[in-house]
């Protein structure tokens, strides 16, 4: 399938190069060239944080999805003009001439396409960031599962950059909802991007009175995801009882989506600078911080309850902030997980990776029942880690972390594991398993509050078929998706259910203690 990146791979002209070292002033440069825009200032701030030394600025022609956007705005406003289109790129090392880019391509920190739109009939004359990608900070505490690799051209040089696409609204053919959706879909769709024309076409097919500058409603967002074969769990908290804000908190779904690599959208009421009191804003989330020493998991509010008296410690307890974009202010912000008050958040979407039929929150709930039920049957097991796990389970101090993986990714992970004693899994067993497990799985990793943050290790995982629909019609059929559980020294494979009681076949594992977590 062809990728939608013509607008990124176009050659530039009128190339200018600037050393960012003092006395260069980003403030002066932005004010001279663009005016006062928070989003553009944020790009320069990110470049400063990454110690960028060089800025390259090029003019580019509007190609691909930018050309489409121009046509669509012109249809709405015949006097419309895309006055300027610039590509700026920030480089860690000094670049003397554009020809040097070839030898310094590994030091690209970020790029942005800046678009100047003029609509005389509505006195509109503004710059916006059509898109930008900045690599994440190298800090270990910033985690971006499954970042995307974007191809682009700077000068005549073909390059790639890893990150998550940031996009800004222009209030002409796109608002916060369209740009948030494009940001996340750019790493999930085989075309590696989506045009605003396509987003707006789908939105228009849902509502006859659709006006692209007014954003998207929930039904339109759902339809855009479904039309692209993406499954999701979303909650509109204004449609359910208030208790749902506590029982199914938005943070839980947001974390599940971003940790599995699908990302999440959160929609909230906001009364900040430049926004009307009743403004509803939506932003994409794609990563999280990981704070080993946070106190939060010790607090009761960190505990996630599935039902009366049964719960676990979710892995997001060690997350202080989500990583996301806010199109009003720019890319790659840390958004404190507990900062946005729960009664301000009206909508959350946990987007599943393509091909996945149910979500991480659901997988963790099923894993809880299986682990808490299986362990008492292993009481006579002599493995000390099983004994510890039984003890922690009785106190419900178990950490779960749900990951979606292809079968190849899981088998490669299993083959790479080494327990604390240096043992590795039987390679014949891994080879056999590779032929037998579903093509896409949920692996719910099992750990404990002392092992998970400090060592970033686990005691096993419970594996489910992610390609099957969940059948919640009766309590037994929910477990149809079970594939196996891996615990220290033991795999447990499922089987027949007799009188509502399932049986499990224990198969030996060479991994006798804790192993590394999945890192995608």
């Amino acid at each position: 399938m062809p990728t939608l990146d013509d607008h990124r791979k176009v050659a530039g002209s009128d190339v200018e190069k600037f050393s960012l070292q003092a006395p260069f002033s980003s403030f002066d440069f932005i004010e001279d060239r663009f005016g006062s825009y928070d989003s553009i200032r944020r790009l320069f701030s990110l470049s400063r944080s990454s110690n960028a030394e060089t800025l390259i600025l090029e003019s580019i022609p509007g190609c691909g999805i930018i050309s489409e956007e121009n046509e669509d705005i012109k249809e709405l406003y015949p006097g419309y003009l895309n006055d300027k289109l610039l590509r700026i790129s920030f480089w860690e090392k000094e670049i003397c001439t554009v020809d040097d880019i070839e030898s310094t391509s590994n030091t690209l920190i970020g790029y942005a396409i800046l678009k100047h739109d003029v609509v005389p009939e509505i006195s509109y004359n503004q710059w916006h960031v059509f898109e930008a990608v900045f690599v994440k900070y190298s800090h270990d505490h910033n985690c971006v599962p499954r970042h995307q690799t974007y191809s682009l051209k700077i000068g005549e040089q073909q390059l790639t950059i890893q990150g998550i696409l940031y996009c800004q609204q222009n209030e002409l053919n796109k608002a916060c909802a369209q740009v948030a959706v494009r940001s996340l879909l750019s790493r999930l769709l085989p075309e590696e991007d989506i045009s605003y024309r396509r987003i707006n076409e789908i939105a228009g097919s849902v509502s006859a009175d659709f006006s692209p500058d007014k954003g998207l409603n929930v039904v339109q967002i759902r339809t855009i995801l479904s039309e692209h074969g993406l499954r999701f769990i979303d909650i509109d908290y204004t449609q359910v009882e208030d208790q749902y804000r506590d029982d199914l908190p938005f943070q839980k779904y947001a974390y599940a989506g971003l940790e599995a690599g699908g990302g999440a959208l959160i929609g909230f009421r906001f009364s900040g600078r430049g926004l009307q009191e009743d403004a509803k804003h939506i932003i994409p989330l794609y990563g999280h911080t990981f704070n080993k020493d946070t106190w939060a998991p010790n607090a009761d509010f960190s505990y996630f309850r599935i039902g009366e008296g049964v719960g676990y410690v979710p892995s997001e307890s060690w997350t202080s902030s989500f990583l996301g974009h806010d199109d009003n202010f720019g890319p790659n912000f840390c958004i404190p997980r507990l900062y946005i008050e729960k009664d301000k958040v009206d909508y959350v979407v946990e987007i599943f990776r393509p091909g996945t039929m149910y979500g991480g929150v659901q997988a963790e709930a099923i894993a809880l029942n299986i682990l808490y039920s299986i362990l008492p049957s292993l009481l006579h097991n002599t493995n000390k880690w099983i004994a510890r796990l039984i003890e922690w389970t009785q106190r419900q101090q178990v950490v779960f972390r749900a990951q979606t993986l292809t079968s190849n990714e899981y088998i490669e992970h299993l083959k790479s594991l080494q327990d604390w004693e240096g043992n590795k899994e039987d390679s014949e067993f891994c080879k056999f398993l590779a032929e037998e497990i579903p093509k896409l799985i949920w692996a719910v990793e099992i750990s404990t509050p002392h092992l998970f943050p400090a060592n970033e290790r686990k005691l096993g995982e419970i594996v489910f078929d992610a390609t099957q629909e969940l059948d919640t019609q009766d309590s037994d059929s929910i477990n149809n998706v079970f594939v196996f559980a891996r615990l220290p020294e033991t795999y447990l494979f499922g089987g027949d259910v007799s009188d509502g009681t399932p049986s499990f076949t224990p198969v030996p594992s060479k991994l006798v203690s804790h192993t590394d977590l999945i890192k995608m």
Partner: protein
């Protein structure tokens, strides 16, 4: 006719046990929180289904 519930793939369990052996006899396990998990999952589904009636607009 209602599909018979299984707990994973019984054939896979037999195949893998015959090739790699078993640690102990097959264990029967009473699922302790089946009702709680079903109630929770249906609550999630219920909330998701109700979002179809949402009137929220994000601009």
């Amino acid at each position: 006719m209602k599909k018979q519930a299984t707990f994973g793939n019984a054939d896979l369990a037999k195949k893998i046990a015959s090739k790699f052996g078993t640690k102990q006899d097959v264990v029967k396990v009473e699922m302790r929180y089946a009702k709680e998990v079903q109630t929770f999952l249906r609550k999630v589904e219920n909330a998701h289904n109700k979002a179809a009636d949402s009137k929220l607009v994000f601009s």
